[in-house]
């Protein structure tokens, strides 16, 4: 009888250990899960920023905006993004007045989270202008 009681005790102990491990594992996983949820937004934001920096480095971003070449700008942005990614580009002047009369977008319906990045772009032309370019991205399901 004593031996049986000891066995029950050990089983309870093992259960307690497993329960403790489970609780601590859950606590440890909470920040990781949170990170996984934010990671997608961070990736989209990073892609948007890199696209705008790349376009600005060779002067094509300000050049196309200076000339109001929205079709060219749309093609260029699309060429730098994966095909399964929705984008919408909006150009403002420094007073946040909308400059692009036509929508610059990939046009595909969006389902999912939209992440936007603002980028300040200065024109190198003699007629100095400052633009605020907003690029919104989303993955297409």
């Amino acid at each position: 009888m004593n031996f049986l009681r000891d066995n029950r005790g050990q089983i309870r102990t093992i259960e307690a250990i497993f329960a403790s491990i489970l609780i601590f594992s859950s606590i440890a996983l909470i920040p990781s899960l949170k990170n996984v949820m934010n990671q997608n937004d961070q990736i989209l934001s990073s892609i948007a920023r890199n696209v705008l920096i790349t376009l600005d480095q060779d002067g094509s971003l300000s050049g196309l905006i200076d000339n109001g070449n929205w079709t060219g700008l749309s093609s260029l942005v699309a060429s730098l993004l994966p095909s399964a990614m929705w984008f919408n580009l909006t150009v403002f002047d420094e007073n946040m007045q909308l400059l692009n009369e036509n929508q610059i977008s990939s046009g595909t319906p969006v389902s999912g989270n939209i992440v936007g990045t603002d980028y300040v772009c200065a024109s190198p032309s003699q007629n100095y202008r400052i633009y605020i370019v907003r690029l919104q991205l989303s993955t297409v399901n």
């Binding site: 102990t13 403790s20 594992s25 920040p31 603002d118 190198p124 100095y128 400052i130």
Partner: protein, 254 residues
């Protein structure tokens, strides 16, 4: 028997406590490593991103101001444009508080960030230089960085003159540079001066002007003029950024 039972109960408890301690230590160590990695990543990103997202705009602002000044604009335009840029970037920073401060270079060469040397030694320089600091305070990180930006267009000309009679053949070689790298010119106009302090005359196609563009920033021009044994030659050129640069040299008979 009671003593042995108590001992085995105690050793069981010690085992549980030890297991829990080990579990807690492992988990806390893992969490510490994870947390440190996140902090390091955020720290590197904040400083680098602030620079990356502002660098092109600052260089473009210098380019615009230099093009403006070299084509007859006021030198104060650089300060005005930089203030405008700084204000826009600071107001558009949603990830944190961004403080962008510019200091146009003032030195023996540069005045208010602008240096223009269009001398008669065969070299012409148009340059803009600014130091700037980026102070970023975000929810996860603060960063402070100092940088410099420079836009320089330079031209070097060499000229020779040949011919025995009053008609002289003049050869001019121009080399255009942007930030010390070879660069293309959008236009080059050659002038010559027959007498010291005399009028400058534009070389026209009617002067048998021949131009060769080597495509690497080097341009060769040849023309014929009535001249003495020495001739002052001037090249006025715009680079593809519309920055004007002028260089004069004395063309010596060979």
């Amino acid at each position: 028997m009671k003593g042995r039972n108590a001992k085995s109960h105690n050793s069981g408890q010690a085992l549980i406590v030890a297991s829990l301690v080990i579990s807690v230590m492992l988990l806390s160590t893992a969490y510490y490593v994870y947390d440190t990695e996140v902090n390091i990543t955020t720290s590197q990103t904040a400083a680098d991103l602030s620079f990356l997202t502002t660098k092109s705009s600052i260089v473009n602002t210098l380019t615009s101001a230099l093009a403006n000044v070299t084509n007859g604009g006021d030198t104060g335009i650089l300060r005005t444009d930089l203030d405008e840029l700084s204000s826009t970037i600071e107001n558009d920073s949603y990830d944190g508080i961004l403080d962008l401060q510019f200091t146009p270079l003032n030195s023996s060469l540069y005045q208010n960030g602008i240096y223009i040397s269009w001398g008669s030694n065969g070299t012409g320089i148009s340059s803009a230089f600014v130091s700037f600091l980026i102070n970023f305070s975000g929810p996860y990180d603060n960063s402070y960085s100092e940088y410099e930006a420079n836009v320089t267009t330079a031209i070097a000309i060499e000229s020779t003159i040949t011919g025995n009679g009053p008609e002289k053949d003049v050869n001019v070689t121009c080399t255009m540079l942007n930030e010390e790298d070879s660069a293309l010119a959008s236009d080059i106009t050659i002038y010559y001066q027959n007498e010291t302090s005399g009028p400058w005359t534009t070389v026209l196609p009617s002067d048998n002007l021949i131009s060769i563009d080597y495509g690497n920033g080097t341009y060769f021009m040849s023309f014929t003029v009535s001249a003495q044994n020495t001739l002052q030659v001037s090249a006025q050129a715009h680079d593809l950024r519309n920055i004007l640069v002028i260089a004069n040299t004395t063309s010596v008979e060979v």
